[in-house]
Amino acid sequence: MGEAMSPYHRPMATTWWLTNRAYFLFMVRELTSVFIAAYLILFLLMLYKLAMGREAYEAYLHFLASPGMVVVHVVMLAAALFHTVTWFNLTPMAMRVRFGERSVPPLIVVGGTYAAWIAASIAMTSIVLWWK
């Protein structure tokens, strides 16, 4: 053995997520959480205005109907869809569903999440329409 040689450390570039498509899509998926959080804040504000009374609530609804807020909602919906679809597609990685000695094919697990999504959406829509 010769003299000690110090190992070379390569720092990670801040642009690491631009070096590969998968890293980029991962960052997009993470970023969509921000839009989902933003939507929840708008939703909580709506509940707050509702508690303040009819006038405040209707003024808030009017604000939400402005063209700028409609665009914001379209962007938030797109982000929420991307978030949902990418996570649903990753479900089989986290869940190995077994029936006795046989494991359920990944496509069925993914299909199950979409089926639950559709069922929940139908249930929510029915409740809203029922109470109208």
Binding site: S6, P7, R10, T19, N20, A94
Partner: protein
């Protein structure tokens, strides 16, 4: 017609001569049946004997020859020149690890992590030899077999930006191997391993980029191992809260 050649740009670091690494360009004969490791062996034998790198089996079993090939962690013995020809290929040591020399990385960190998860079958009480072997059904084997295929090549660590940013993270292969033993019907050491696996630097650091599974040459699916460990660790937590008198 002159024989076809191919250019390799290789990361060189010889700390005792120069504290900054450089890329050195080599022209090697192009052969359709050559992998990157063949080209590097040609350089070592015919052009420049000072080039340092690790390799052993040449057939994807030993896990020694992992390198960054055009920025992607790959086994150089399983990466064909023809997939890049005629463009030059850039070869660097595995990302996120310190470089000892040229393409040789310092792998102590991975070795310590591997040891920390106790990759062997733990028994509360060893049964005497006269009792015979610990038996296992094919279905029980099937539960962990995929995770046992790991060849410790560390490509998954090089693909993991979480490990790149903070190397205290236990990382993909060590978690997959912890799962390999904890899911083994003959093992009784899961709670010991969980201290590390579900600890501060364990599975909860993972943000599921998923590239560890993509680059794995042995189809281990370490990202799956980590997510499944998260599910079972969550179940442990609910059990401890809802059923504190139950057996842990």
């Amino acid at each position: 017609m002159p024989a076809a050649t191919m250019t390799l740009e290789i990361f060189r670091y010889r700390g005792e001569q120069d504290p900054t690494p450089v890329f050195q360009t080599y022209d090697v004969p192009y052969r359709e049946d050559w992998v990157v490791l063949d080209a590097i062996n040609y350089i070592k034998d015919e052009i420049d004997g000072t080039l340092s790198y690790r390799w052993s089996c040449r057939m994807g079993v030993c896990g020694s020859c992992g390198m960054m090939i055009n920025g992607v962690p790959k086994l150089s013995c399983a990466t064909f020149l023809k997939d890049y020809y005629p463009a030059p290929v850039r070869i660097e040591p595995l990302a996120h690890f310190p470089v000892e020399r040229d393409l040789v990385i310092v792998l102590d960190d991975f070795m310590e992590k591997l040891t920390s998860i106790k990759p062997w079958i733990i028994r509360e009480q060893e049964q005497p030899l006269s009792e015979g072997e610990y038996r296992q059904s094919p279905a029980e084997l099937d539960r962990y077999k995929q995770f046992s295929m790991c060849i410790n090549c560390m490509l998954c660590y090089s693909a993991c930006p979480v490990y790149g940013m903070d190397n205290r993270f236990l990382g993909p292969a060590a978690t997959a191997l912890a799962q390999r033993y904890s899911m083994d019907s003959r093992d009784q050491g899961r709670s010991e391993r969980q201290q590390i696996v579900a600890g501060d630097e364990g599975i909860w650091e993972c943000t599921l980029v998923g590239e560890c599974t993509v680059v794995c040459p042995a189809h281990v699916d370490p990202a799956g191992a980590i997510q499944q460990a998260k599910v079972s660790s969550t179940i442990d937590w609910f059990k401890s809260v809802l059923w504190p008198w139950g057996k842990r």
